[in-house]
């Protein structure tokens, strides 16, 4: 008896959102999407009950832009647990350890159940440390008022973020089944766009206000100010460049000609896009880095000891370990790593993290900064390629699956025998290479964008994700409208 039989009773009973019966009109789809988005924005504005006035520390920190949600709200966890669960599933699926055949309906049910169970597990695994290690501190006044003690309030806090984590999962399912696109994609776009808009028109360090300040003479018109932290001209150019590059890269593709085996003259093309695996695997790489950073911050919050120069060093079993992690100290507790392993593994977030020649640049030695940049680049480029490969495998976009799909649709590659194996051979010439090149390229782009800075601090990955998700959404809406206008198309696409 394998794990499948053992886990079946649990996995098949996981609650799922009902599927629509038959076709959902496009207008109705838009309504569901809009409704869930409104709910999402509402929930990101509901502060956690039981948090003291000063708030806590956001463990997600710089990763907030891509992990969505809202800090110190009921959606504090955002899509973090879903992404982490996805990493586990990708790694297991990519290494073929699951033994699930996603063409088999029985295994599909198991896959869906496992996916959900993993997310629930990750909600607990991410949420519990946040509450217990004091990143989300319990309000003592409330504890006394209710007479349930600190542990009781901690329980309440956890219950709220747990409910929020589950809600995000089901909201995504509602959009995936009843709406347009995927919920997670929309939540990421929503978060990134919000930061972008505040980065442009926001009263605090917003682009327009800063420019006005410079014109009115409140801020000195130096090269540093105009290009850097104040005028953010470089960030503006980077942001625009990412937009252009992603939209361009979406159109770069190798097209494999197809013709119908029986219907003469019916021709098609199978596009292998440069960003074949899409930008989504990137979020997995970033989330891996994020989880490593969480680990560091949790360790230092539990086992940190202050140093003479006002920083915090990790101390385990009475031994100080500056090689592992040295953190800067803030009023709320240890904050960002400034030395040690966790410093080198922290991704570059903004120009001041590495431009050592600037007055506001890093305090580390040049070699330390260069090491950190190198680690980040290596991690993102190699990680991007690896996760792109796994993504292609688990999303059924690999040579074998696409060959099967082409064969099933009755198409063939002109000049080749109509046979799955033959089509697979042709696909193998392109898909693996394109996947690796695309994944590495996206990784490089994300790091470069972060190094040059982006408007509103949305980070390169956030921007890449937002642009490519929006582009996909646009394609999907165009397709929906086409089907809406020509009901015959629906039958062709088997909707």
């Amino acid at each position: 008896m394998g794990w499948k039989e053992a886990a079946e009773p649990v996995l098949t009973r996981m609650p799922t959102v009902q599927r629509p019966e038959g076709h959902v009109p496009f207008k109705r789809k838009l309504m569901w999407t809009g409704g869930v988005l409104v709910l999402y924005f509402f929930l990101t504005s509901v502060p956690l009950w039981g948090l003291p006035a000063g708030g806590g520390q956001d463990l997600f920190g710089q990763f907030r832009a891509i992990l969505a949600g809202g800090q110190f709200t009921v959606l504090h966890l955002g899509i973090g647990p879903i992404v982490t669960a996805s990493i586990v599933l990708q790694l297991l699926g990519g290494a073929n350890l699951l033994g699930l055949d996603t063409d088999d309906p029985r295994d599909q049910v198991l896959y869906q159940g496992l996916q959900k169970l993993l997310v629930v597990f990750m909600v607990i695994l991410t949420g519990l440390p946040m509450v217990l290690s004091g990143f989300l501190p319990a309000d003592q006044a409330l504890a006394q008022q209710l007479g349930i003690g600190i542990a009781g309030v901690q329980g309440l806090l956890f219950a709220q973020i747990f409910a929020g984590g589950l809600l995000i999962l089901f909201m995504d399912e509602v959009i995936s089944k009843w709406g347009v696109g995927s919920g997670i994609g929309l939540f990421i776009v929503a978060g990134v766009s919000e930061s972008l808009v505040t980065g442009i028109i926001g009263p605090r360090n917003g682009l327009i206000f800063n420019w006005a300040g410079m014109v009115l003479g409140d801020t000195a018109l130096s090269v540093d100010n105009v290009l850097g932290s104040q005028g953010q001209v470089i960030a503006l150019i980077t942001t625009l460049a990412i937009f252009v590059i992603v939209v361009y890269a979406e159109s770069v593709r190798i097209e494999i000609p197809l013709s119908h085996a029986r219907v003469k003259g019916a021709r098609g093309r199978f596009p292998v896009k440069l960003i074949y695996a899409s930008v989504l695997p990137m979020i997995l790489v970033r989330a891996l880095q994020a989880n490593l950073q969480f680990l560091g911050r949790i360790i230092v919050s539990q086992a940190g000891s202050p140093t003479a120069d006002g920083r915090v060093v990790i101390e385990l079993l009475g031994v100080q370990m500056p090689w592992l992690g040295l953190y800067s100290q803030t009023a709320q507790g240890p904050n960002s790593p400034v030395g040690g392993l966790f410093y080198y593994m922290a991704p570059i977030r903004q120009p001041t993290d590495w431009m050592w020649w600037l007055a506001s640049g890093p305090s580390q030695e040049i070699w330390q900064v260069v090491t950190r940049v190198t680690v980040d680049l290596t991690f993102m480029i190699i990680g991007g390629a690896i996760f792109a490969i796994f993504w292609v495998e688990t999303a059924d976009m690999g040579p074998r699956s696409t060959a099967k799909q082409i064969q099933n649709s009755g198409m063939q590659i002109p000049g080749f025998r109509q046979n799955v194996g033959v089509i697979e051979k042709v696909m193998e010439r392109y898909i693996p290479h394109v996947t690796v090149i695309g994944g590495a390229l996206v990784g490089l782009l994300a790091v470069m964008a972060n190094m040059l800075g982006t408007i509103g601090g949305v980070s390169g990955t956030g921007l890449l994700l937002a642009v490519s998700i929006t582009y996909k959404l646009y394609e999907e809406i165009a397709e929906e409208q086409l089907m809406e206008m020509h009901p015959m198309m629906r039958q062709m696409f088997g909707d």
Binding site: T12, R13, P15, T16, V17, Q18, R19, W32, G35, V36, L39, F42, L43, V46, P47, L48, W49, V74, I79, I82, S86, T102, D103, P105, Q108, V109, Q112, G113, Q115, L146, Q160, L167, L169, F170, D172, E173, V174, S176, K177, G181, S182, G183, I184, P271, S278, L280, I283, T394, D396, S401, T402, Q405, I406, N408, S409, K472, E479, F493, G494, D495
Partner: protein
Amino acid sequence: MSSGQNSGGLMSSAGLVRYFDAEDRNAIRIDPRTVVAIGALFGVFVLVLSAAL
């Protein structure tokens, strides 16, 4: 290009979470309206609690 598997579509675009057409008879089915309603009620409930205490 298409929704679901085995539908003859050429490219499957997957989100982070994948949903298939197959469903088990034992699965607990939730109406999408219930999800939205619970979400909204939960938000209002937390807001009311924060305001009251």
